[in-house]
Amino acid sequence: MQEMSDRLLNNKAAASIAWAVLLLPPSTAIFVILSKFSVLHPIQTISECFSMLTSATAIFSFILLCGVIIMVGFLNFEYYTVIPTIACSKIALFGQLLHPRQLVNSLVHCIMGMIVAWCSAVTIGFRYETLGHPCAQTDGYHQMCLNEYHLILLLGGAFVGFSHSLLGVIHNMNYVSFHTVQQYKYLRFKGCLPLVVKCSATQALYSVRNFIVVYYFLGYIPRTWICKTLNLHLGSSAHPLDSIAGLLDLSLLYHLWISATFLLFTWYITLLLFRIFLTEHIHFRLNPTDHQILVLSFPKFQFLALQDLALLSQHSPLRRCEVFSLSQPGGHPHNWNAISKECLSLLADLTQRLVAYHDTVATNGRAKSLSSGSERKTSSETSGTLISQKWLSIPLTAPFTPDLDSPFMSPALRRLAAPVEQGSPWYGTVQSPHIMRRVKNFLAKRVLIVYLFNKLPEASSQALFADSQAHIWALEGLSYLVQASFSEDQFGVVQTTLPSILSCMLVLQEAVDRHFKLPHASSKPVRSTSSMGDSTYKTLRFALRATLKTAIYRITTTFGDHLNAVQLSAEHRKRLQQFLEYKE
């Protein structure tokens, strides 16, 4: 099973990379035309472009570009995830950025950026073509000088590649989300293409701006280094490029921007194709052995299977018929049992997670405040040291994980930060101005730490629902199947599990409702539209809540008063009645 799923995913990735390579010639041609275009000599531009595209260097650099695209595709495949990693604090984000795996990724992107920049430098030709150029010195004989235009293009490419890799972590660019709307691959690609062009152009603009600032201040370091290692001389050109006059060269800026756009565009296209191919709907065969797929702990594949389940339950009566069928011989509804068991365990898992989180949040406050209160009463004179001990004893790994108890948002800290209230257990104990000053100094020193370790609002909520796409499909699949069973289930196989499905959904509904009453859980995240990063995961919890309600309503509207005959606990029946009366 594992090999099969691996092979399938490998094929998808390979197909996406092949398409990306096939799309390279047209995008390169457009780049060549745009980079060489001059308004005054349009015909000359075209002939130049044509001769350029057929030259040997162009073919060599094209092969290089293909290699880069394949490498980018490979990295996409290696680093992608269907469950986003959500950094719950700033320090966790830094941890992600400095992870060795990520460092390798950044380095490779840096090198590839440089390669693409070299290719574009060769393609643009003109003054960018080579690193060294012969120049006449004052004493008459020729020597090689550094061509700074070439260097700045190369460094620019490296910088853009590096920042692409960094932004990839910050914006979760390796997260692949599944669309609610199914579309054919070509139509999806066509629909996304304007967005890709826009994103690459704007991102290139920002990256080039940042690069120019960096080069202005630090540009002399790589320049002198290159000169020293390659034994080149600094040219006697009018302006060195890390001066304002040198950087105010519009043609240079344009070429920097257009090559950065080209670089990002080809990479984004590769990423887009990869996402489109990966999230494409796969038909799974429905037989009891294949249901092992659902159980696989391999989330990427489990997602595809659940997507298939949600779609088949909604759209194909023939395959639904297979689900409701009985085994021959034996007469057991193996298909339905496997599906319902798997979906219910998924949902129960989420319920458990939510309840555990809620309990931790609730008890966290109470338990900690009680313990700190008692500590204070027994040893009020050593308050400062106690706090510091307490703070230092917190394991540093804690904020790296989306853990459930946040030590830094405990009421103890809040009480420290806020003025002491009357009536609290602290009142009367921490009143000595000396201790207060110590506490304040202590806090001031640790502002940075608090900034780094402080939990980002709603991040823990996002992390809790990070894989909720699976739950959404499970809910949709179950509810559509139950709805269809009303008229299509000849043997009544669904009837037997209806009570457990209903109670599972109602319990989850309660847990979700409770979760949304927590602070930050129901606040809407800011959406960034002009980025290749997918921010679907930020709103997954809202989608889950809506899907859950719709799923219950779908069952109640279909069965109506018949549901009164279903065995349910009194509490669940009361809740279900609310749904039957459309009062939820």
Binding site: H179, T180, V181, Q182, Q183, Y184, L187, K190, G191, L311, H315, F486, K524, R527, T529, T536, T539, L540, F542, A543, R545, A546, T547, K549, T550, Y553, R554, T557, T558, F559, G560, D561, H562, L580, Y582, K583, E584
Partner: protein, 499 residues
């Protein structure tokens, strides 16, 4: 083919249609009913619509060029900025004002070119809503029954929305600063609370808690705002760029707030959208002589070019297999059939004319009445047994006022269309909007919004030929229903016989 000549003549002046029973439309003088609402125009506090901003109320105040430019950019976008620079030539260098004037002229030229391709884009937003929305001058701008319960939402001319529920005494009023020129309201299916409101610049999704006792929701947290992000900027730039964003077909996932644009070349936007009851197809008509039918599994579309005008209105049969639609400036109803399995069949190659509603003269005791002509909208009852057709009439001719013609229909085994009668209101009141109640137990219930601001309900009592839907609880507690259901039970054969 069915034509108006087969219809019974309209009611004499002063009579209103009360209900259909015993297979004929009964008339009477208008009765007061707890569900019949009236919104006289005078009762609404209308604000003036011509003023877009309160600019005129303030005195001019001289600011630096920089401040003015920033303000112009904020209010009017690029066009505003260029205008500002061009007009303040003593302060800016001559070349700057010259060049911005040139760019402005170029932009206007381009936008006029764009506008000549799609003439509707040159209309202002109010005009556009008036042109393409189903209703314009009526006090009730939009109306929607809840798909599962007996409550309905009414959008009024003063941009407020009221929600009526016969089972509860509270009528929540929804108001929002962005809720202007409401063109459409729609409840979310399989949900008790979500109401989508299509406004001039945005789409608002209200969450009205059915258990809550509060009656006023003003700019509150119960609303989810979907702004067309590109629109907001475009809105300020120039009119011609504005509506591309609105009229492109976007599929929104409201909870996740994500959208997928479905773009196709041609047409120039979407003016009318209708989902089939089973959710398998969507009709999207464009301002040009073209409409599309999307299937919702893979979101592919079929293009249907019309010969004469744009598709005016359309409705689906309950199983989503048949689409009836009308075309602007034509007095016929077309029909298209679809299969539910995508890919296997491409459907029909041409639409079939099923009814001819061209002008017909009826002689009544009050004189000749001409009925027929262009069709404003269609509504099909959820069981597929009654089809209401709102005929536009001619506003200039007194004897040709808008009227609702009702057909009896049958979807299976073969499609049939038979005349039933005309639904008329009080004298002088013209029908503007109509919608069938989504689950009326005793037949079909047509709700009509009249130009006088009244909302009335016309029940059609019949026993359904198809299997009654199960699990649909709660029919309205209409007085008629309580009085009569026993009478109609044994007269069903008669209905069958006639039709």
């Amino acid at each position: 083919m069915c034509s108006l000549a087969l219809f019974p003549p309209p009611l004499p002046y002063g009579q209103t249609t009360v209900c259909e029973s015993n297979n004929e439309l009964l008339s009477g003088s208008s009765t007061e009913d707890q569900l019949n609402l009236s919104f006289p125009r005078e009762s609404l506090k209308l604000h003036s619509r011509t003023e877009n901003s309160s600019k005129a109320a303030f005195l001019d105040h001289s600011e630096t060029l920089w401040m003015r430019s920033a303000a112009a950019w904020r209010d009017g976008g690029l066009t505003g900025l260029l205008n500002e620079i061009t007009n303040s030539h003593p302060e800016v260098p001559k070349w700057l004002s010259m060049s911005s004037g040139c760019i402005l002229a170029l932009l206007q030229w381009v936008s006029s070119f764009h506008g000549s391709l799609f003439p509707h884009l040159t209309l202002s937003s109010e005009d556009m809503i008036a042109e393409f929305s189903q209703v314009s001058d009526c006090v009730v701008r939009a109306f929607a029954w809840h798909p599962h319960t007996d409550k309905f939402a009414v959008a009024l001319l003063d941009d407020s929305i009221k929600i009526y529920n016969p089972k509860s005494a509270t009528t929540p009023t929804l108001k929002h600063r962005l809720q202007r020129n409401v063109a459409v309201v729609q409840w979310k299916p399989l949900c008790a609370s979500a109401l989508a409101v299509g406004c001039q610049n945005c789409l608002l999704v209200w969450h009205v808690d059915p258990c809550s006792l509060s009656t006023r929701y003003v700019n509150s947290g119960h609303v989810q705002k979907i702004e067309f992000s590109s629109l907001k900027k475009c809105q300020k730039n120039s009119l011609s760029f504005t509506f591309n964003a609105v009229l492109n077909f976007l599929v929104w996932d409201v909870a996740a707030e994500s959208c997928v644009p479905l773009q196709r070349v041609g047409g120039g936007g979407v003016t009318f959208l209708s989902w089939s009851p089973d959710g398998s197809h969507v009709l999207a008509s464009t301002p040009s002589a073209l409409f599309r039918v999307w299937e919702t599994r893979m979101w592919t579309c079929e293009r249907w070019p019309c010969i004469k005008g744009r598709c005016q209105s359309g409705c689906w049969s309950p199983d989503g297999s048949r689409l009836l639609f009308t075309v602007q400036d034509e007095a016929v109803i077309y029909s298209l059939t679809f299969t539910n399995t995508p890919g296997t069949s491409k459907g029909p190659h041409a639409a079939v004319v099923v009814a001819d509603l061209s002008e017909t003269t009826f002689s009544t005791p009050d004189g000749d009445i001409i009925v027929g002509g262009e069709i404003q909208s269609l509504a099909w009852d959820p069981r597929g047994e009654r089809l209401a057709v709102l005929l536009k009439g001619d506003p200039r001719a007194a004897d040709r006022s808008p009227i609702i013609a009702v057909f009896k229909t049958r979807v299976s085994p073969i499609f049939e269309l038979l005349p039933c009668g005309f639904v008329q209101g009080e004298p002088g009141a013209e029908p503007r909007l109509m919608q069938f109640h989504p689950n009326f137990r005793h037949g079909a219930l047509l709700t009509v919004c009249w130009s006088s601001g009244r909302i009335t309900h016309v029940p059609f009592y019949f026993l359904s030929a198809s299997i009654p839907r199960l699990g649909l609880s709660g029919s309205p507690t209409l007085p008629h229903v309580q009085e009569r259901p026993a009478d109609f039970a044994n007269q069903s054969l008669f209905t069958e016989f006639i039709s």
